[in-house]
């Protein structure tokens, strides 16, 4: 079992775990955590693609690794934005719920005073 094969299995497993957490946990912060987990699994898949690309005297293919670095930074930025929304929602409404029934009734009477 080379590290690459192991990492591939771990990556797939982590994606599955994250998906389970995403579906099952209602709290937005836990969903965000699950997203980060799935993301790290996807990066591991990139990682084994990079390791398989060992050639020309390199132990790895640098292009997928560079993509992972970019991806990690972008994923962090996404988490920061999501956290800001979650915190602000919690401040203004006293509870963080994404339950659509609370916020969007299909036959909403328009009483929320849309002045735009």
């Amino acid at each position: 079992m080379t590290p690459a094969v192991l990492a591939g299995l771990v990556g797939a497993a982590v994606v599955g775990l994250g998906l389970y957490g995403l579906i099952v946990d209602p709290q937005p912060l836990r969903k965000l955590l699950a997203f980060n987990l799935i993301g790290s699994g996807v990066f591991l898949i990139f990682g084994i693609v990079a390791r398989r690309g060992a050639a020309a005297g390199f132990e790895f293919d640098p292009v997928p690794q560079a993509m992972v670095i970019t991806g990690i930074v972008v994923a962090f930025a996404a988490s920061a934005l999501a956290v800001a929304l979650i915190l602000r929602l919690s401040e203004t409404s006293g509870g963080v719920s994404l339950d659509p029934a609370v916020w969007t009734k299909p036959d909403d009477k328009g009483e929320k005073g849309d002045g735009q």
Partner: protein, 315 residues
């Protein structure tokens, strides 16, 4: 050296175990701590995949800075008194989710294990172009030369994310500073730790940036470390987060992408097209761009964690 496969398998099992804990933990705090540990263990996996640059980035950004972000979020949620949406998910949904996740994981594992042979790779092309850039680290070459367009856009993504974070502030709070990270009053032990650790961290961060041209490292990794040091200083209340309308802050935040942007435009003059470098003079330009990227990353990441401006910040 028959120990290595056992260590590898052990590491893999540990990583899976911590990941399971992260999903299964009852409280947000436990889950986030689990995620930070997971990030650190994952960097070891990256080292075993011959990816030290990624390992550094994962440890610093994926584990470290994301961990601070989520811990701060959890703390602010709790202290705000908000109820966490509490109904537990019913068993039928759990079963469906478990089956779905299992299928996805198995399918993905199968696809990944049976990718076509021989493996397709860009390593030879990367090697061939390395001499023209004068760099020794092929990943830096990919990030700042071959696919520099991606990297510049990614810096814009960071600026956008920060603007988005700032935009959820209350109207009256605009222009002020974000609320302090952590509400601790200046504390003797934390102050001592910070005063010892921060200078060291700064030196190490700068070093990692500098050697990134020829060895594992670079602007992202060094910048993340510098960002972590500034966050520690802010958490120890030895310095406060700046006002978001401070001119120096705005300049620092766009310095990286702006210099990259201008260098990209200049490529028409000194190279063969946008985002190219003059042959023989590439390395100094690349280091120049990376220096400003370092500044921007070191300033952006803590501001992303600090959050939107707040009325209670008192400034």
């Amino acid at each position: 050296m028959n120990l290595l496969p056992i260590i590898d398998v052990g590491l893999a099992l540990l990583v899976l175990g911590i990941a399971t804990w992260t999903i299964a933990a009852r409280e947000v705090f436990g889950a986030v701590v689990g995620y930070v540990v997971y990030g650190l263990l994952l960097s070891l996996v990256w080292v075993r995949l011959y990816a030290p640059d990624v390992a550094l980035t994962e440890a610093a950004v994926g584990g470290g800075v994301t961990g601070v972000l989520l811990l701060t979020a959890g703390a602010r949620l709790r202290s705000g008194g908000g109820k966490e949406a509490g109904e537990a998910t019913g068993l039928p949904l759990r079963v469906v989710a478990a089956v779905l996740s299992l299928l996805v994981a198995l399918g993905l594992a199968a696809v990944v294990l049976f990718l076509p042979e021989p493996p397709a790779t860009l390593a030879p092309e990367a090697r061939a172009g390395l001499a023209a850039t004068g760099l020794g680290n092929p990943i830096t070459a990919v990030l700042i030369s071959y696919r520099s367009f991606d990297t510049m856009l990614e810096k814009i993504v960071l600026v956008l994310a920060l603007t988005g974070v700032w935009s959820v502030a209350a109207d009256g709070a605009w222009g002020r500073a974000p609320a302090p990270i952590g509400r601790m009053a200046p504390d003797g032990a934390l102050t001592l730790l910070t005063q010892t650790l921060a200078p060291l961290g700064i030196v190490v961060g700068l070093h990692i940036f500098w050697v990134g041209a020829d060895a594992p490292g670079g602007a992202f990794q060094g910048g993340a470390l510098l960002a972590a040091m500034w966050m520690i200083v802010m958490m120890a209340r030895l310095a406060e987060a700046p006002r978001i309308d401070a001119r120096w802050l705005r300049l620092a935040l766009i310095a990286g992408p702006a210099v990259f942007f201008l260098a990209g435009l200049a490529g028409v003059a000194w190279g063969d097209g946008f985002f190219s470098y003059p042959p023989g003079f590439a390395k100094p330009i690349i280091l120049f761009i990376e220096a400003f990227m370092l500044l921007t990353i070191a300033v952006t990441l803590p501001m992303l964690v600090a959050g939107p401006p707040s009325k209670g910040a008192g400034r």
